[in-house]
Symmetry: C2
Subunit: 262 residues, 2 copies
């Protein structure tokens, strides 16, 4: 199955862009009548048939529309401090989209890298977006998770999380839209024992909506954890292994995924 | 805490290699009396003190020996088909070491990439070994997982798994040495429904020893899955998301890690 991204689809006839037309006709050799799939990145999957197999402007016709395609039973927003090494953060983004996430909020923390400061470049947002689109297509998902701009962690901690849809920027492929959101913060501070950290596997029941915070290489500061607790966040542990930031973030995404496995 | 790899340590005095001596004295600026840690990669952690802070040959003295450091309550051998893209397999190796694994067996399957054939190069073993050593040091582990040579999947399927130590090549940081080993094979074949796949979360109880097989991009063939079942392997599912080979492999490592979280 081949999936194409068509964010601007708005009728039963659609013309692929030049590059995708070429890929479709020249590389995949799809001729008139062949079936392909499009997604608007907002949860709808379109089963289409090639009408005009033009390698510059391939026209397709929608034959079936599948709404809420691959909808998950849980909602997940990951608020993660970009890593010193850009590749590692981008790798987290790819894996998060593949496994399942609704929104990613890159956070600016006290111990964040200097380049994350106001005028630095925490991550390449355009490149990150392209990478998320290709991960969506590769994993045959119809929902493109939201990628928010770099946000001071304080803002995220003090943000209200009414219905889950509110937390994901542009909504999500998971989430009830109603349930209260579980707010978790993963940290490794020995000097912050009260409240004690709960194993993430116990803090994330099936069919829940959650936002999980993962700190920078230098961890969250005691002040940041205290502010989180004051705002209703539950401190969690991601086990005894000393995990890199991006590994901890992927472990959290996997914990939610595995907790909801049928 | 800084961890150095000293596979050849055999007395209470040890001289670091030139590169590590330089790192220790010039970069970390450790002087006589400073504390550092060494591991033999076989489970023992040595707490040491610098005796001679020579940037070419730094001498240290062992002040404390911690055997079975960070020993896990479970054993895990991952048999994974190297990916078409070498980086992705190396990324899996790094994450597996960070999170916890005893041995990795790269497997050659019917649908493996051509370069995995006898004279091809499935993966760069020396590079992979260096990468595993640095992941061990970075995650402060005292055990260096075994990395076996590329092995035909049939050999792995027909291998006897008496005590777990037998399956990990050079033994492991986890595993009871006694329990029978759970044998799991993850596949996505719609045409192989009997026995049905069990969710990996249900197939991996805490404190178990397991070997988990992850197939190539083209999945295992029906024949390979049938041979696995005939040899007592249980077909498992890693959920509904369409995961890349290396993502499925990391998900399996995480499933074992999370199942054993206290």
């Amino acid at each position: 199955m081949q999936l194409f991204y068509a964010p601007d689809i708005n009728s039963s006839l659609y013309t692929l862009g030049q590059e995708e037309s070429r890929h479709c006709v020249k590389v995949l050799r799809l001729g008139a009548g062949a079936t392909l799939h499009l997604t608007d990145g907002r949860g709808t999957m379109y089963v289409c048939q090639v009408v005009v197999a033009d390698p510059r402007r391939c026209e397709v016709m929608v034959v079936e529309t599948l709404a809420d395609y691959g909808r998950r039973s849980y909602g997940l927003t990951m608020a993660v401090a970009p890593t010193k090494n850009l590749d590692r953060f981008e790798w987290f983004l790819e894996k998060a989209v593949e496994v399942g996430v609704d929104a990613v909020v890159p956070i600016l923390c006290a111990n964040s890298e200097r380049r994350c400061e106001p005028h630095g470049q925490a991550f390449k947002s355009e490149r990150a977006r392209r990478l998320m689109i290709s991960a969506m297509k590769q994993s045959l998902k119809a929902f493109l998770p939201a990628l928010e701009p770099l946000t001071p962690v304080k803002e995220v901690l003090e943000r209200g999380f009414g219905g889950f849809r509110g937390s994901g920027g542009s909504g999500g492929s998971g989430g009830s839209g109603g349930r209260p959101t579980l707010k978790l913060i993963a940290h490794c501070r020995e000097d912050f024992a009260n409240p004690a950290r709960v194993p993430i596997t116990r803090a994330l029941p099936a069919a829940s909506d959650a936002i999980i915070l993962i700190g920078p290489e230098g961890d969250f500061t005691a002040e940041e954890v205290a502010l989180a607790v004051a705002n209703g966040f539950v401190p969690v542990s991601i086990g005894d292994s000393r995990l890199r930031t991006e590994t901890a973030a992927v472990a959290a995404v996997m914990a939610a995924y595995l907790a909801n496995m049928q």
